[in-house]
């Protein structure tokens, strides 16, 4: 069928700068660039370009520039270029629109409407370079009260504490499965987490044997497909997470096409090579909080009550009530993934229209658990589109215990957010199983870049905490008086539990 779609991008090649080295040709998995055998010049077929910027970044003479191709002359406020293109695409294919990464729609980003406090005159600020500053935090169930006994003149804890995860900084790398991303990416996250004293999450695709050595800093996932779940997997980990939902696609499952299930993925997921890996939308053994409780306690039994069990859900309308149920079902950690959470593949309409922003979800869940007197029984992990240390510190002030970083971690490793993860042709070697592409992600470099990011953000958080006159991240948690809203309605402020800027 003749396509009505015009290319999304325009590639400009400066012929005076082009040295015809062919880097662009060899690096593009979408076959945009090719050599004209008649005269050795290089041509570009823009209709295949996804704007991953691989060619632009690697071109040694900066001869390439990518531009948006503004060509939809009749677009208007309702019938935007994007909308028209989606309809043309579907009229040509008859298929569901697929995409990757997090929601790009302009829903309000509340982080940009929240400002932090700082000390002036009446209370001293703290310089983290000269005075102690604590970013360490612990995830897991905390007791209602602690009892101590005096033994030989010193105090000893009598209360038996539930298992805890110790984080040297309030970050974790989000669940991204082997299959969705390549082995090298997981290795890089595992190594960076180990070095920085934080955690990474396997996602639902199992844990490769070679990564078991990073188990102390690994959270393993148990999802509806149960891929790669067995005794050694649970034993290897520091914590187990039951994945109910994901912010990018609440309410729907996953589908890893068979062509991505090579030997490595097949072995790790424990499914035959070449078969589709289907994660059902629900867990077929969980239809109620009571059923969830059974799985939580099965996993606790299997790990002899030595590891915290987390339950991850997408932020949806009733998130506070659901979170309350999850805590009462026995979870040690509730992980909530907001509407801007990323994915390796999701139907575009689901990603762009289902769920609620993480800011509102954190505030609602923290408040509900506090109101019910059970906030101490579980830690809250927030996920979904955290872009900077400022977003993270605001999340903690709203009530989160720590934050999952998915997209930010991928961007640190080279991702350019082209949203084509689902094609398996990631030119940055991240969301691919293709042996020609995945070697582009050198785990040595990627681990260093991740560690650098965690280091930088930790420093920034220390500076911001110090400015507020606080010397420990745990003293900020849920301390919403350190936040003020700018340009938010009364309803939004009420849900966030934050006063407007200017109000004392």
């Amino acid at each position: 069928m003749y396509t009505l779609l015009q290319p999304d991008f325009r590639i400009k090649r400066d012929e005076e700068r082009c040295i015809r080295c062919g880097v662009c040709v060899r690096q593009c998995a979408f076959d945009v660039h090719s050599v004209d055998t008649d005269d050795g010049s290089i041509r570009s077929d823009e209709s295949k370009c996804v704007a991953c910027q691989r060619c632009e970044t690697l071109c040694p003479t900066r001869a390439l520039t990518l531009e948006e191709n503004y060509h939809v002359a009749n677009e208007n406020y309702n019938w935007t270029g994007g909308v028209l293109k989606n309809i043309w695409k579907q009229a040509e294919t008859g298929g569901v629109l697929l995409t990757g990464m997090g929601n790009p729609r302009p829903y309000r980003i509340y982080w940009d409407h929240l400002v932090l406090n700082a000390s002036q005159v009446t209370n001293p600020s703290i310089d983290p370079l000269r005075e102690p500053m604590e970013l360490r935090t612990y995830l897991g169930s905390k007791p209602d009260s602690v009892e101590v006994v005096k033994e030989n003149g010193s105090l000893k804890l009598k209360t038996k504490l539930a298992p805890q995860l110790r984080l040297d900084a309030p970050f974790l790398f989000s669940a991204m499965s082997l299959g969705a991303i390549g082995y090298n990416v997981q290795e890089a996250m595992a190594r960076a987490a180990t070095e920085m004293g934080i955690y990474w999450n396997t996602g639902e695709g199992g844990l490769h044997k070679d990564l078991y050595k990073y188990g102390k800093n690994t959270i393993v996932q148990v999802a509806s497909g149960r891929f790669g779940v067995y005794k050694d997997y649970l034993d290897a980990a520091a914590a187990v997470e039951i994945k109910i939902g994901q912010g990018a696609k609440p309410g729907i499952g996953g589908h890893l096409p068979g062509e991505k299930v090579g030997d490595l993925v097949s072995m790790t997921r424990m499914i035959p090579a070449g078969t589709d890996a289907l994660s059902p939308a629900p867990h077929h053994d969980i239809y109620s909080i009571e059923d969830l409780s059974q799985l939580i306690y099965s996993l606790k039994e299997a790990t002899e009550y030595t590891k915290p069990v987390s339950v991850k859900i997408a932020a949806v309308h009733n998130v506070a009530a659901i979170a309350s149920g999850i805590v009462r079902a026995g979870a040690d950690i509730v992980a909530i993934d907001g509407i801007r959470g990323g994915t390796g593949a999701a139907p575009t309409m689901i990603r762009d229209n289902v769920g609620i922003p993480i800011e509102l979800a954190i505030a609602a869940v923290d408040q509900r658990l506090r109101d019910e007197g059970i906030r101490n029984r579980a830690s809250i992990l927030a996920a979904g589109g955290f872009r900077s240390s400022a977003d993270i510190i605001k999340a903690i002030a709203l009530g989160a215990d720590a934050v999952y970083l998915g997209t930010a971690a991928l961007v640190a490793m080279g991702c350019h957010v082209c949203q084509k993860c689902y094609t398996g042709k990631c030119n940055w070697g991240i969301a691919t199983q293709d042996p020609y592409l995945e070697r582009r992600l050198n785990p040595d470099i990627a681990a260093e870049r991740l560690s650098n990011l965690i280091h930088a953000w930790s420093h920034e958080i220390m500076e911001m905490l110090g400015g507020m006159g606080i010397n420990a991240i745990e003293s900020l948690r849920g301390n919403r008086l350190h936040l003020r809203g700018v340009g938010l309605s009364k309803t939004e402020l009420d849900i966030l539990g934050v006063r407007h800027a200017g109000a004392s």
């Binding site: 040295i19 015809r20 080295c21 880097v23 003479t61 020609y436 070697r439 582009r440």
Partner: protein, 144 residues
């Protein structure tokens, strides 16, 4: 001696090593001039059989066949280790090209000379190593 080693598992076949090798061996040291005007040849080869690729430079062998086969004395093994090439003595007979077991010597057909890795003697690190975007080349001492 220090040698250049390829780490094949992370070589991504961009071949920027060859681009920067040629630039480093150009008169202008300018990447665009080196390729578009001077037409300098790189002193290395990128072997490619997808998905695998890696750069091959002169290995600076301990007992180099090229030196033994050179009919004019243009190639010599220096005391410090590198196999040194004196271009003015080369007559373009290609005997060394045939003798090299690694296929690391390039023919500069137009000039009837060979082109071969000199480890960028004037730099602290060879250009190919310094410019590899994925650290797939290292310059290090591994013993012989």
């Amino acid at each position: 001696m220090k040698r250049i080693y390829a780490i094949e598992s992370v070589c991504m076949n961009c071949q920027l090593c060859a681009v920067f090798c040629a630039t480093g061996h150009s008169r202008s040291k300018d990447i665009i001039k080196a390729h578009n005007r001077e037409k300098v040849l790189p002193r290395l080869f990128v072997e490619e059989k997808r998905p695998v690729s890696f750069a091959v430079q002169c290995r600076h062998c301990d007992e180099p066949f090229c030196v033994q086969s050179c009919i004019t004395g243009a190639l010599t093994k220096s005391l410090e280790g590198p196999v040194v090439y004196a271009e003015e003595k080369c007559v373009g007979c290609w005997t060394c090209v045939a003798a090299c077991p690694y296929g690391a010597i390039r023919r500069d057909v137009d000039r009837k000379k060979i082109a071969k890795c000199d480890l960028c003697a004037e730099l602290t690190e060879p250009a190919c190593v310094a410019n590899c975007p994925n650290q797939a080349l290292v310059y290090e001492e591994r013993g012989s």
